[in-house]
Structures are given as C-alpha cells and as structure tokens.
C-alpha cells in the first residue's frame, strides 16, 4: 500500500471522512488545552507581563501560515509531475486556511506590538515578509477564482505557486537587507537545538502548535473533500445536460 492510493478521490474522501471527526476532536482538545494552559496557568514574564500570552496564538498561526504555503508548493509539484487531481484540489483548499493563519499572525503581532514596541506596525523584515506572503496568497487565490476550466486553473496556479515560492524566498532575504528589524529572533532554533524559552512557556506553546497543526490538517481535508464533491457535482450536471 503506497500513499499514491489516495490519489484516488474516492479513497481519499473515504479516509478523510473516517478520520475527520477524530482530527477535529483532537485539534479542539489541543488548541483549547494549549490556550487555556497558556493563558491561565503560566506566570507573567518579567518584562512582558501578561502580553507574553499572545505567543500561544501568534507563533502557531505564523508556523501554519508558512507551512501552509509549503504544503501548497508540494501539492503543486505533485500535480505538475503526477497529475493527481486530489493534489491540485488540496493545494486550492489550503490557500484560504493559510491566508487566515497569516492574518491571525499579523493581527496578533500588531496587538502585541502596540504595548511592547509602542506601535502597531513597523517595516521590520519579519513583519514585511509576512505581509508579502499574504499578498502571494491573495494572488494565488484570485487566479484560482478567475479561471473557469479547473484543469487549466490547476496548471496555472501550480506554476504560479512554484514561481511565487522562489520570489517569496527572494523577498524574505531582500527585506532583511533593506531594513534591520525589531522582531526578536526565533526562541526555538530547531537547527541548533538550543532554546531561550523556559519550559513553563514552552510546553503549552508546543501543545498549541500541535493543535494548530491538527486544526490546519482537518480544515484542509474537509475543504478538499468539499472541492472533490463540488467537482463531481459539476460533472454530473454536465452529463445531465448532455443526455
């Protein structure tokens, strides 16, 4: 049994519907658990007081915003190489979820920045690259919406996703060059293994990140199934019109 079996929309739908309730439940438990743990049962940080608690929404949503685009990139590649429709539809399904995550990250960042930096917005490299990521999401979704023929739309948006990824990366490093920032570096550098966040904040954060991840997967699966059914309905309609 290989993963490509689920390129079959029927199998994909069946599996998705089977695991969706579990995923939804799990994400609810993890997100609520992480947030309640983080909000109610962690001490205030020295310098940040209670504002530190927004980290439990901000970091997970930012994480999923970037990984959402990454998932679209992988799906686009699979579509271009192997032409599995489910893959193209999954990329389409992920875009609105990713854009919401981006908005959440930008919004919570602004709310946190107001008391801490004294401003809602600065043209900091991280903030700027996120705004640019948001624009890329918008363009991608607009292109999907504009093309009627779904196969052409899948082709063109996939190529846009590939090209966009290259330019998003370029922009990421270009804005670094352009302006030095206020935003702190990562507190959980995966590459070096060290971290500057105390366990008491880190553990609920991990729970919240896992929760957002499962939530993202659940939303994307649900939306993909919806898109598959929509496509099937359109085919049935077309058949009826011909008969």
């Amino acid at each position: 049994m290989s993963i490509w079996e689920f390129a079959n929309p029927r199998k994909f739908t069946a599996l998705s519907l089977k695991i969706l309730p579990t995923l939804v439940g799990l994400s609810a438990v993890l997100v609520l658990g992480g947030l309640i743990w983080g909000f109610a049962f962690t001490p205030n940080a020295d310098k940040f007081e209670s504002t530190v608690k927004i980290i439990y929404v901000h970091v997970p949503s930012a994480l999923m915003a970037i990984n959402g685009w990454l998932m679209m990139l992988v799906c686009s590649l699979i579509w271009l190489v192997r032409r599995h429709h489910v893959s193209a539809l999954a990329a389409r399904a992920a875009a609105p979820v990713g854009v919401v995550m981006t908005v959440i990250a930008l919004f919570t960042g602004a709310v946190w920045g107001q008391p801490m930096w004294g401003t809602w917005w600065v043209w900091d490299p991280r903030l700027t690259s996120f705004l640019i990521l948001f624009l890329f999401y918008l363009g991608y979704m607009a292109l999907w919406a504009a093309i009627e023929d779904t196969e052409t739309a899948a082709d063109l948006t996939s190529i846009l996703c590939l090209v966009g990824s290259v330019f998003a990366l370029l922009s990421r490093y270009a804005v670094n060059f352009w302006n030095q920032g206020l935003h702190q570096g990562t507190s959980i550098p995966v590459a070096t293994g060290g971290r500057t966040v105390a366990d008491v904040y880190f553990l609920p954060l991990v729970v919240a990140m896992a929760g957002f991840f499962v939530l993202f997967v659940a939303l994307v699966l649900a939306r993909t199934v919806t898109l598959i059914r929509e496509r099937r309905l359109a085919v049935l309609d077309a058949q009826e019109a011909r008969a």
Binding site: L135, G139, A142, L143, T152, I159, V163, G164, F167, F177
Partner: protein, 219 residues
Amino acid sequence: MIALLRRDLMLAVRAGGGFGLALAFFLIVVVLVPFAIGPDPSLLSRVAAGVLWLGALLACLLSLDRLFALDHEDGSLDLLATAPLPLEGIAAVKALAHWLTTALPLVVAAPAFGILLSLPAPGFGWLVVSLLAGTPALSAIGTFGAALTVGLRRGGLLLSLIVLPLYVPTLIFGAEVARRGAEGLAIGPALPLLAGITCGTLALMPFATAAVLRRALRG
C-alpha cells in the same frame, strides 16, 4: 526571432498608444507626487529616488496586459505557438520587445523627471544605472504574469495582483541603489544583487512563461 521582435516593435510604434502611454503615465505619477506630499524641495529630494523607481515600475505594469492579449484575440499567438520557434524563445522576445518599447523610454526619461523631484546631483547616474539593471527583470516577470492572465476576461486587475508581489525584490534592490546613490553613500552589495536578480529572472523566466503559455493555449 528577429522577425518577431521587429514585428512587435513595428506594432508598438505604428499602432500608437502603448508606446507613449507608459511614459505619459510615468510623468503624471511624478507630477502628482508633489501635490500629494507638498512642494518642499528637501523632502522631495529625499523621496525622489524611491518615487521614480515606483513610478517606473507602475508604468511598466500598465502595458503588460496588452502583451499577449492582442495576439491571443486575433489568433496569432496560436500561430506563433505552432511555429518552429520554441515557445521559450517567443517568451524571451516578447519580454525584450516590452523592455525596448516601454522600459527603455522610461529609463531615458527618468533623469529629466528627476529634475522635477529635485533629485540630488550624484543620484542621476545611479538612478539610470539601477533602472538599466533592474527593468529587464520587471519586463521578464511581467511577461510571465501576462501569460498567466492571457485568456481571462478581467485579467488586468488580476495581473497587477499577481505581478506586483513578484516585483518586490527587484524594487527593494533597485530603489536601494538609487537611494544610496542620491545620498552619496557607498552602493555596496545592492547593485550586484540587483544585477543577479535580473540575470536570474532573464535566464529562468522565459521557461516559466512558456510553460504557462503552453497550458493556457491548450485549454
């Protein structure tokens, strides 16, 4: 390829409109800026380099939607696609024609518009250099965007939404070169990076454009 380039240039010159329009648009943007932010020369000279870059970029964007649309409507794009010339070559020639007809006049006119915005004296040379180095990338990226939206009815607005985020790195480095030049600072790595982006896009974008055109024409 040369025949195609000549044809595109002839069309641009003889059909009117497109050729001078971008230039006129650029001029109007430059004229509107002092109205919007005030006529103070010291303020103007500080923002001049950035405004000129932004104006040139928007003017480039303006003529993109006609790049493939006319050829698509009268069917000559399909003919070009079946011609022995590879589609990648066609994409490259289209980008070159767009650069020659739209971007090059902007580059030539930019110093004159710099006077309007009281651009500091050392900035003129760097402005032209940065535009010369950067605008080919704008044309190549724009050709890709034009190919994406070629068959669409409301392509124009969508085109801007898709192309403008792709312009970000070019704009950052290009405006940085012009700004540093105007302020008399060392140019530093901005110019090599800008040139690098241009070379990279020129080398790779025609392939992406051709891939898009192939799918768009098949549908």
